[in-house]
């Protein structure tokens, strides 16, 4: 099994063990990231670098909060070269970033199921 790409440390600290609060942020990730990823795909296929930058920028706080280091690295690399890197390199970097985000959303969905189940157990125990 591959290593998880999200790190829940910040989420655990913030929610102070409250599963509802944890779930709130997880659901929010699951809702916002795919939406913004879809917009990012659109901007990329239109070679709209300004929007690509803006969208990656807008996802950045959540990505950092969930400790997705690989995406942070790509984001930083792109930040240095939005204006001049060749389109091909831009495409491959953004696609790599989108793949990681997709994996992160899958992990988050799994976590949501686990947490919801735990909550149900507590309810009926």
């Amino acid at each position: 099994m591959s290593e998880p790409i999200i790190d829940l440390q910040a989420l655990k600290e913030l929610s102070r063990g409250n599963p509802d609060r944890m779930l709130h942020y997880l659901y929010q990730f699951k809702e916002l990231i795919p939406k913004r990823s879809a917009e990012l795909r659109k901007a990329l296929s239109a070679s709209d670098r300004i929007n690509v930058r803006k969208l990656i920028h807008s996802m950045s706080p959540q990505v950092q909060f969930f400790g997705i280091k690989e995406v942070v690295k790509i984001k930083e690399r792109l930040a240095l070269g939005y204006e001049h890197i060749p389109q091909e390199e831009m495409n491959s970097s953004v696609n790599e970033l989108l793949n990681y985000l997709e994996k992160a959303v899958t992990e988050v969905s799994k976590l949501i199921n686990e947490l919801e189940q735990k909550k149900d157990h507590l309810k009926y125990d």
Binding site: Q28, L32, H57, S58, S60, P61, Q62, F65
Partner: protein
């Protein structure tokens, strides 16, 4: 209690900020606005003392929102993702800011600065920032804390900055010198895109006052000769070639 308002277009940051503020007993969150327009409405209706303001929102920037207000009777802590340009503008105007996602310790430090800072200083800094944004670089003012208190210095009046360990001495064209508690590196970071160049480990010069560049020194308009360090000689020459026409 500190009465606060959050203005941010990112739902994640709004929730995160709300949760992080709940760690502090002396904070009363009056409301949350989802964009600049809603921010203006809530500012007028709720009259907060402190506003956490997103720098880049979809309908307007935080600065554009502030410019639309008739008067500013609150302090502002800007909230931004890392963006070199935005942070530079915030620092240049001596404004306070937090980076997204908000770090609890940084928030604690910002709140402690808020408690110490006078409302008048904060208001003046905002007014200065808004004025600076409407002026070309050479007409902008730099807000500094000197021994004489808070002062606004026009960039056109600064001829040279001389570093002295943790302090810097700002030489004005009038001959006056201002000692401030900022390192030369801090000032270089604020001024390197505003016509200033660090030609030596101890000197930052304003291109407008460079009269002559000779071998390993610069002659300034007030007659002072400033050394160019050997290491920076080539880079300085290149910068000067690019900038002397704009002098």
């Amino acid at each position: 209690m500190i009465k606060c308002l959050i203005i941010d277009d990112d739902p994640f940051i709004r929730d995160l900020m709300k949760d992080k503020l709940s760690y502090f007993n002396d904070i009363e969150l009056l409301g949350i606005a989802k964009n600049g327009n809603e921010g203006i409405e809530k500012l007028r209706a709720l009259k907060p003392e402190l506003v956490f303001l997103d720098v880049e929102m979809t309908d307007m920037t935080g600065f554009e929102m502030l410019a639309q207000l008739g008067s500013i009777d609150f302090q502002t802590i800007f909230v931004t993702s890392y963006s070199h340009y935005a942070i530079k503008a915030i620092r240049f105007n001596a404004l306070d800011y937090l980076l997204k996602p908000i770090d609890l310790q940084e928030l604690k430090n910002a709140l402690s600065r808020f408690r110490k800072k006078s409302a008048t200083t904060s208001k003046n800094n905002i007014i200065n920032a808004l004025e600076n944004m409407n002026h070309p670089v050479n007409e902008q003012k730099l807000f500094l804390k000197s021994q004489a208190g808070e002062i606004a210095v026009k960039l056109t009046e600064v001829i040279l900055v001389q570093g002295d360990r943790n302090y810097s001495n700002i030489h004005l064209i009038s001959g006056q010198q201002l000692l401030i508690a900022k390192t030369l590196i801090d000032l270089e970071n604020l001024l390197d895109d505003k016509g200033f160049y660090r030609c030596h480990k101890s000197y930052l010069v304003n291109r407008h006052y460079i009269d002559q560049v000779k071998g390993d020194y610069i002659k300034l308009a007030n007659g002072n000769k400033i050394p160019i360090s050997r290491r920076k000689k080539t880079a300085f020459r290149q910068w000067w070639e690019r900038n002397k026409a704009a002098k």
